[in-house]
């Protein structure tokens, strides 16, 4: 029973990490209709930035996460018009062009990280690293708990932004119909660029937490991209609300399979579930995906 409860906690906390990673990805897909292959790259760069900030300036990741968010918000905002231009190109298959573009971006990030930080894994130390809370037989790692709380905060912040602000209204309008939103006076290019900025900011911030929980090296990006795709597909592409349920479901599934069936089969079963989900509910758990 102790192991069962511990697995429950482990699963929920893994879910928190997955939600952190995917929520921005979903937003950018919903608005820009871009499957951003660079999602893992942004998370990796966020982790490395936190690593630099803690080793060079002694800034704890819980403070640097805000700096990382601001920095990557601006980088994404700067890159946004380019993504928008590729995605709305009049040449053939702009959707595939955007996918190829972000894949190239991802390779550039990976190569840059190899050049800057070499192949070695880096740990990002925080005041909460290795700290835990004991509740009877269950141990709750505080870093993972923070990531979970941060995931909830990200989600809440995003919902408030989307449903309680004029900017959010413009974003939702854009997600529904770009042309109509433009006709109603929404500055489509500007809003799209800011959405991409918010996405990169959120994902890089998630990368800070992930690097603190695990470690960071130039090859982790592809792993995070894979997980973001898992969650996004189960949630329904573009469905921000579905991410919460899908992230928790996949986290719990991975934890219970690894504990009671065998860690070797965890990803196999996660893949299988995803396959079934695509067959049964292609629009995701809430049926709101594209």
């Amino acid at each position: 029973m102790d192991l069962f409860l511990q697995t429950l906690v482990n699963g929920i906390l893994i879910g928190g990490i997955l939600i952190c990673l995917t929520i921005g990805f979903q937003l950018t897909f919903g608005v820009l209709h871009v499957i951003d292959f660079a999602v893992g790259g942004w998370a990796m760069l966020g982790g490395y930035t936190a690593y630099w900030l803690v080793t060079l300036a002694g800034i704890d990741p819980f403070i640097s996460i805000f700096l990382v968010f601001a920095l990557f918000l601006l980088i994404g905002r700067g890159l946004g018009p380019l993504i928008y231009r590729v995605r709305t190109s009049r040449y053939a298959r702009p959707d595939l062009m955007a996918l190829a573009f972000t894949f190239g971006l991802f390779l550039f990030m990976r190569g840059g990280a190899l050049w800057l930080w070499s192949y070695n894994s880096r740990s990002v130390e925080s005041v909460l690293s290795g700290q835990f809370l004991s509740l009877g037989p269950v141990t709750i790692p505080l870093m993972r708990l923070s990531a979970f709380l941060m995931a909830m905060l990200f989600s809440l912040g995003l919902f408030i932004l989307l449903y309680r602000s004029r900017f959010g209204m413009a974003v939702r309008a854009l997600a529904q119909n770009r042309d109509h939103a433009g006709l109603m006076g929404v500055d489509v290019k500007r809003v799209s660029a800011w959405v991409y900025g918010i996405y990169t900011g959120l994902t890089a911030s998630a990368g800070v937490l992930i690097a603190t929980i695990y470690s960071v090296n130039p090859t982790v990006g592809i792993r995070y991209t894979l997980f973001a795709f898992f969650v996004a597909v189960l949630a329904g592409l573009g469905s921000v609300g579905g991410v919460l349920i899908a992230g928790l479901a996949l986290g719990l599934l991975e934890a219970y399979v690894a504990t009671y069936i065998g860690a070797r089969y965890s990803l196999l079963i996660v893949f299988g579930t995803l396959y079934l989900a695509l067959l049964v509910a292609p629009k995701g758990v809430l049926g709101r995906g594209i």
């Binding site: 511990q6 070695n120 894994s121 993972r144 470690s215 860690a263």
Partner: protein
């Protein structure tokens, strides 16, 4: 003086010039080749494995520099300097094979020194076989490299299944009655899986009770695995994986308030990067190494293992690990085989085949330890002689703790603060 252009004269001079170049250059080339032993190095000088690739290059280069200080390799009373040629495998097996072919055809190397990774080594093996060029590999550790029984390839580092197997036996012997149970986990990918298999075999051979053996995908979150280990709390936990997995394991275990009584990992644990990144958490962790500077080995060129370490430090600014040492020792193997062969370079295909036979018969002591290649079995042409050393990290230092003849400190068991 007439400067009138004569077409006939121009054609005649051109013809004579071309003829002289065609006939003269090979003669010059041959005379240059006669004086030297041409050694090709195929390794990863760029790409993901460039760090390890450059370690191998350092090891090979250090040997070349030292032997050339003496005038080169002595064969039948005459010394022949060595000349090094490099081919960048770019961390890709196919590129490694291309680089090896270029070295053999264009640079006409007499012998190859092998790549950093097992994957590239496997790709280069058929090339060395095709052109009958002996290749001494200072780094490949996967047992798969030797399964195909490569006639021209020789490996200096014992395959990982041998080192982890023997190290677990050595550890169990040293701990005696204090350790009765063990669990083995490993990443489900070739190298790490072989490492874990070796640990499992060692657990079985040493009579320990194997509580669990589990493989997991490289992308897995380790919290479930650590929670299970925590619930059974074995006396020894062995991990097969790479440095990033080790770091994740240590971080996850710490976050879940679990510290194994003995935690043994493989190669990456001795690297400065691992110790730096895990900080005080690395204290007490055990690792496996086939060579350390404290071992009581020596030879005529490098002196003792400690002398080699000092020499490498003065040349490159960092202390050598066992990969670098094995690469330098590869040169010693070539030296010894060429001396026994007794034929002056350049070596044609038949002579190179004889050289391969001479390498196969190697039986020498070096600063790196004893070298002798298996002539049959699943580790064909792998140097199976070195006995692995169990090391323990103590306050950031890598200290050999077992077996007794290599020990420089006492094995700390259980790790302070263990669960």
């Amino acid at each position: 003086m007439s400067h009138k252009f004569s077409r006939r004269k121009f054609l005649r001079n051109s013809l004579l010039g071309t003829g002289a170049m065609t006939l003269g250059f090979p003669a010059l080339n041959v005379s240059a080749q006669e004086a030297k032993i041409r050694c090709g190095v195929v390794t990863s000088l760029s790409g993901a494995n460039r760090f390890g690739g450059n370690l191998t290059r350092r090891g090979y280069d250090l040997w070349a520099e030292e032997i050339n200080k003496l005038g080169g390799i002595e064969i039948a009373g005459t010394r022949y300097p060595v000349e090094m040629f490099y081919g960048d495998a770019q961390s890709q097996p196919a590129s490694g094979a291309d680089a090896a072919e270029r070295l053999i055809i264009q640079d006409e190397v007499d012998v190859l020194f092998g790549p950093y990774t097992s994957g590239v080594t496997l790709a280069v093996q058929p090339i060395s076989q095709k052109y009958r060029v002996p290749m001494i590999s200072g780094s490949a550790e996967s047992p798969n490299v030797w399964l195909a029984k490569p006639a021209f390839n020789f490996g200096m580092i014992p395959a990982v299944d041998l080192t982890t197997d023997k190290s677990m036996v050595v550890l169990a012997d040293t701990l005696g009655d204090r350790a009765k149970t063990a669990s083995v986990i490993g990443v489900d990918e070739p190298f790490s899986k072989e490492t874990a298999e070796g640990f499992r075999k060692g657990v079985e051979e040493s009579g320990l009770d194997l509580l669990s053996y589990e493989l997991f995908p490289a992308e897995s979150d380790l919290s479930a695995i650590v929670s299970k280990l925590k619930s059974t709390n074995p006396d020894i936990v062995a991990v097969g994986g790479h440095e990033s997995v080790f770091i994740n394991f240590v971080n996850t275990a710490k976050a879940l308030n679990y510290k194994p009584k003995a935690l043994i990992m493989h190669y990456g644990v001795t690297s400065a990067a691992f110790i730096n990144e895990t900080g005080s958490e690395s204290n007490g962790i055990l690792g496996v190494s086939v060579w350390t500077a404290g071992l009581p080995y020596k030879d005529d060129l490098f002196g003792t293992a400690s002398d080699y370490s000092d020499l490498s430090f003065s040349r490159w600014g960092t202390r050598p690990d066992y990969t670098e040492a094995a690469c330098s020792a590869s040169g010693l193997v070539l030296q010894d085989a060429a001396r026994r062969l007794g034929k002056a370079p350049p070596w044609n295909q038949d002579t190179r085949a004889q050289l391969a036979k001479a390498i196969e018969d190697t039986d020498i002591e070096t600063f790196y330890g004893p070298v002798g290649f298996a002539k049959e079995g699943s580790h064909y042409h792998n140097n199976t002689k070195p006995v692995p050393v169990v090391i323990q990290i103590k306050n950031g230092d890598v200290v050999p703790v077992a077996p007794e003849n290599a020990s420089k400190g006492e094995l700390t068991y259980p790790i302070p603060g263990a669960s």
